[in-house]
Symmetry: C2
Subunit: 199 residues, 2 copies
């Protein structure tokens, strides 16, 4: 599931099982208030199988540093980009043949509707839009989102919504993925902490 290049049309190297690629776009980040949450959203994207992360409309070097440090230490390929306006990121993604999935409490319920199946059946790369409280109305329009997906109809967390979307999209396979060139690896244990560290 490693991807040799960073941006969008670039999946020359895919897994044997040829999964659709996912990139996460985080909209509405406010540097002070959202620092930890956006970091978590980016780390969830990386840990749970996405190929990269776009922080739209803003630059936040601290988040970039944190995420890139995790990738350096824990391995795998994962790109982090920031500052591009969300509209152009969406336009570019679509121009390259990708689809856009907007995670929102108002969308089709991932559990009770067929929406996940319809997304997967298209076999196209997916840009997942993850907003914050008030997203632009445009996010719901045909021009932007191909699908509006809810992880239940209760307010909770974009971080959690992304996690469940990715876990279901990759059907758990993301949790066994090997992260290549890792300096730190965890060895799962019933008790205690075991890591292998190579420096």
């Amino acid at each position: 599931m490693e991807n040799s290049k960073q941006t969008i049309s670039h999946n020359k190297e895919e897994t044997e099982t040829r999964t659709q690629k996912i990139v996460v776009l985080r909209w509405g980040h406010r540097p002070q208030r959202d620092a930890r949450l956006t970091t978590h959203v980016a780390l969830v994207a990386r840990a749970l199988g996405a190929s990269g992360f776009l922080l739209s409309d803003i630059v936040d070097e601290k988040i970039r540093e944190t995420v890139e440090k995790v990738t350096r230490n824990w391995g795998g390929k994962f790109f982090f980009e920031m500052g591009a306006p969300w509209k152009s990121a969406v336009r570019d993604w679509k121009a390259k043949g990708g689809i856009v999935v907007h995670l929102t409490v108002y969308g089709e319920n991932i559990q009770t509707s067929s929406v996940l199946g319809r997304i997967k059946n298209l076999r196209k790369d997916v840009l997942v839009l993850v907003g914050s409280q008030k997203v632009p109305k445009d996010f719901f329009s045909n021009d932007v989102s191909d699908f509006n997906v809810s992880i239940g109809s209760q307010p909770h967390s974009e971080c959690a919504a992304l996690a469940i979307f990715l876990d279901r999209f990759f059907a758990g396979k993301e949790l066994v993925k090997e992260f290549k060139k890792a300096k730190i690896k965890v060895v799962p244990q019933e008790r205690g902490k075991k890591t292998i560290v190579e420096c």
Copy 2:
């Protein structure tokens, strides 16, 4: 999966399907730094099927207010308690016959191990310990955790880990649960926002 007894007395009204009950204990909250993250963890607990939330070792009225306001508006039963030391919360839980599951990157992988099945087979109510970066070493000991569970072996987010644990534990049923006495309900849509508000 049926459990006829409620060890914690707070939910008289349960779903018809009578599953093992889950309560989430959040350890290590720092009021300034973790405000939004802990709020998200609590909202994830509520939205994804837990019965209640314990903020251990600290009091943070702002978080309580936010969570209780969500419950008032969006319905369902969900208790929020704070301030008790984690040790006594764990002791009390165990004294009532419950088990403790510690979510940690170092634990048994939920995807590759049989840990979730073993937890469910016990048919006991579950206290899920959700820490932050450095949890007390005791969390890994027999005295505290019956199971140490990892949601993959990569660093990501306690909020995401809890979400995936709950989604898998309840096998998606939590996403269709009806929240009784809700003032606000979302009606899932392919596009746009539709809510029913009763005040």
